[in-house]
C-alpha cells in the first residue's frame, strides 16, 4: 500500500536567526527525494524536525494523520544521523539480530561487505563500513519512510555505489529523503530534488537550477 508523508508550515528560528521558513515537502512510497543546501542551511535540522527530535512549528502528516514526534510510533519513520548511531559495543551480528530480527539476521548478513565483518564490534569498523551497515539496517526496517543525512559522507567511491544500489533496491517499498553535499551522487539516484535556500525550499530540475541558486559555481 503506498504511503504519503507531508511536511507542512515548518518554521524554525535559532535566537533571532530564521533557519527554515514555511517549508512544504511531500514524499510518497517509491520516491527518492534529494535535499541539497549549503552548510548550515538547515538540512539536518529539517530532517530532525520531521523525525521529531527537534522542536519546531510544524505539521507532519503521514497518511493523513498528524504526528508530533513520528519516531515515537514504531515502523513509521527512520533517520540516519550524520554521526554513527549503532552502539560501539555491539557486533555487526548483534546489531543485525536487534534490527531486522533474529529470523532474518543471517539473510541480512549474507552480503559481500558485511559477511566478513559479522563478528566484529561496530566500534572497530572503518567509517565507510559503519555507514554501509547503518544504512542497510535502516533500509531493512519495516519503516514507511527513511531519511538519510549525508549517507555518502566519508565513504569511498566503491562503497558509494553499493549504498546507492541498496537505496535503489529498497525504494519501491519506501519513501526516501536523502541529503548530501555530494550533489552529483544525489542527482544520480533521486527522483526529485530540492534545495534549501535562505530558509525556503526550491525545486531543482538539474544542475542549471543549482547554478541559478548559487549552490554551485559552474554548471
Amino acid at each position: 500500500m503506498p504511503h504519503i508523508l507531508e511536511v507542512d508550515s515548518v518554521q524554525k528560528h535559532f535566537d533571532e536567526r530564521s533557519i527554515l521558513t514555511d517549508i512544504y515537502l511531500q514524499c510518497r512510497t517509491g520516491e527518492i527525494i534529494g535535499l541539497l543546501g549549503r552548510n548550515g542551511s538547515g538540512k539536518s535540522t529539517l530532517m530532525q524536525i520531521i523525525f521529531g527530535t527537534i522542536d519546531a512549528q510544524k505539521f507532519i502528516r503521514i497518511d493523513g494523520k498528524v504526528y508530533e514526534a513520528p519516531y515515537k510510533t514504531k515502523d513509521l519513520i527512520a533517520y540516519l544521523p550524520q554521526h554513527d548511531f549503532v552502539p560501539k559495543h555491539l557486533s555487526v551480528r548483534q546489531a543485525a539480530r536487534l534490527y531486522p530480527g533474529k529470523a532474518s539476521a543471517e539473510r541480512f548478513l549474507d552480503d559481500p561487505v558485511l559477511k566478513p565483518l559479522s563478528g566484529s564490534k561496530t566500534g572497530s569498523l572503518s567509517g565507510g563500513e559503519v555507514r554501509y551497515l547503518e544504512i542497510k539496517l535502516l533500509l531493512n526496517t519495516p519503516c514507511r519512510f527513511i531519511m538519510l543525512d549525508e549517507p555518502f559522507s566519508g565513504v569511498s567511491p566503491v562503497m558509494v555505489e553499493q549504498i546507492q544500489k541498496l537505496i535503489l533496491e529498497t525504494s519501491p517499498e519506501k519513501g526516501i529523503i536523502l541529503s548530501d553535499h555530494d550533489y552529483r551522487n544525489v542527482l544520480k539516484i533521486t527522483s526529485r530534488c530540492c534545495l534549501i535556500h535562505q530558509g525556503s525550499l526550491k525545486q531543482i530540475s538539474g544542475r542549471e537550477d543549482l547554478l541559478r541558486w548559487g549552490y554551485i559555481l559552474k554548471a
Binding site: 519516531y71 515515537k72 510510533t73 513509521l76 533517520y79 552502539p87
Partner: protein, 97 residues
C-alpha cells in the same frame, strides 16, 4: 522491543555498578544499604546522564525502533529498582543472620 531495552540497560551497568561500589566502599559500615540504594538512585541516574552526554548519538539506535528517551530512562530505573531491591534484601538478610 524488550531486547533493545535490555541492550540499553546493559550499556549503563558498568558505570552504575562502578559508581555505586565506590560509594559503598567509602561508607564501609553502611555497605549493605548504600550499594543497593545507590544502584537504584544516584548510580542509575548518573549512568543515564553520562550516556546522554558522551554517547548521545546511540539514542538514535533506539529512536529508530520507536523507543523514546523517556522509555529508556523508565526501563533503566525499573530494572535497577528491581535488582537493587533484591540485592538490598539479600545483603541485609546476610548481615543480620
Amino acid at each position: 522491543m524488550l531486547r533493545l531495552l535490555l541492550t540499553f540497560y546493559r550499556s549503563t551497568l558498568a558505570l552504575n555498578w562502578g559508581f555505586s561500589l565506590a560509594c559503598a566502599i567509602l561508607v564501609f559500615i553502611q555497605f549493605p544499604k548504600v550499594l543497593p540504594i545507590s544502584l537504584m538512585s544516584s548510580g542509575s541516574l548518573l549512568s543515564f546522564y553520562y550516556k546522554s552526554l558522551s554517547r548521545k548519538g546511540d539514542y538514535f539506535f533506539y529512536y529508530n525502533r520507536g523507543i523514546s528517551k523517556t522509555q529508556l530512562l523508565l526501563f533503566t530505573l525499573l530494572m535497577n529498582g528491581c535488582s537493587g531491591g533484591i540485592l538490598y534484601i539479600l545483603l541485609n538478610h546476610a548481615t543480620h543472620s
